[in-house]
Amino acid sequence: MSAPSELTDRESSPTYELGVVQEVLLALLSAEVSYGYQLRARLQLALGPLGDSLNGGQVYVTLGRLEKTGLVSAQRVEQSERPDRKVYTLTETGRVRVSEWLSDTSWPKPAPAEFHLKLVAAAAAGLADPVRLVDAQRHALLAALASTQRAALAEQDESVAGLLLEGVVLRLQADLRWLEGCARFWGLKGGQR
């Protein structure tokens, strides 16, 4: 057996999927006019630890973009001691976009296809042992599962952010189970060679 491999969380500076943030801001604005900081606070609450890296700048940049494309409108509100603030309102076009978003059932990022094809190609071209690739992938997913689960367990029961983390955990679990199947399949193939 080889020495244990160290798995640590990947350091990265994330860029949020602008699409998601954009639509959520619009949806939140359909309830009431809001300041940027209010919208950001709502997002952070919903995301829990996933929202830690959401900086205020990103929310304001997105709002600026939405204003430019006419999905929201902004009014300046004067403040005596500080710079003016902007209060945002959803426009009619924005309202249409929100209802399209709500009724959209497309489901992002189905994981397996690319990895599956990677295994097929690696085996066909004799580039790498598919079982090794599966093992490496399993290590990576287990590390991800460990850190996600740790974050999920740290949330209180009934926490809205906990629900999101639970979703991530369950998807990772499903992927790990599928990898077991991959290991079995390609292990048998290897045995036949």
């Binding site: 057996m1 080889s2 020495a3 244990p4 491999s5 160290e6 798995l7 640590t8 969380d9 990947r10 350091e11 990265s12 994330p14 860029t15 949020y16 999927e17 998601v20 995301l47 630890p49 996933l50 830690d52 890296s53 992002p108 990022k109 093992d135 290590h139 287990l142 590390a143 991800a144 599962l145 460990a146 850190s147 996600t148 689960q149 740790r150 974050a151 999920a152 367990l153 999101l164 983390l165 639970e166 979703g167 991530v168 955990v169 369950l170 998807r171 990772l172 679990q173 790990l176 189970r177 077991e180």
Partner: protein
Amino acid sequence: MTRFGPLLSARGLRREYGTGLGLVRAVNGVDLDVAAGETVAVMGPSGCGKSSLLHLLGGLERLSAGELRLADQRMDAMSEKSLAQLRRTAIGFVFQAFHLVEELTAAENVELPALLAGRSPRAARERASELLERVGLSDRASHLPSALSGGQRQRVAIARALSNEPELVLADEPTGNLDTAATVDVLRLLDGLRSSGQTFVIVTHDERIAATADRLISMRDGVFVEETRLTHGTSSGLGELAGLER
């Protein structure tokens, strides 16, 4: 107690059943060191030998060959009587099917190991109530197992396993019979115990249980084939997994 080296140390563990053509090598040469305070998870497909391994580590079955030490005591060389004593006091067991005594209340189930180890009824009762509080079931102390949910039964079983402050807790598929919500309760409990320094060896095919471990070992056909150390760091990278970042 000050000890150098691992709490549990196994060398060349073997367990065979049957003879001749019917010979099955359930555990076929396993080395394992578990440090005090460490949680080790063993995963593998059904029939890979992981439950047999757990039975060997807990002294529930005898080795066919190899050496096994718990806190410097040679378990493989012990008399049945000493081994039974060690099982009662130094090792806690958690099973997939809970194995609670159906005629006894939750509190009485938790008291039992302390009584069997010779503690006074009063000390046993106090310990049981402390443990039931720890697993969040103080208000169920006088319920019979039949009046508890699966998750609650498993939490009682975990409390029972901790009754004699065992140095090592061995768990065999602790979430195997539980639904998702109950699994999360047990996960949270095990994670808390892990943080407070309890040593665990858990065999499971639940990836979620495995992910709470410090070290994860994959077992196939009676041998260890792979080992992964899981470090629990920051939550960076989570956003990408959630489909929030790229």
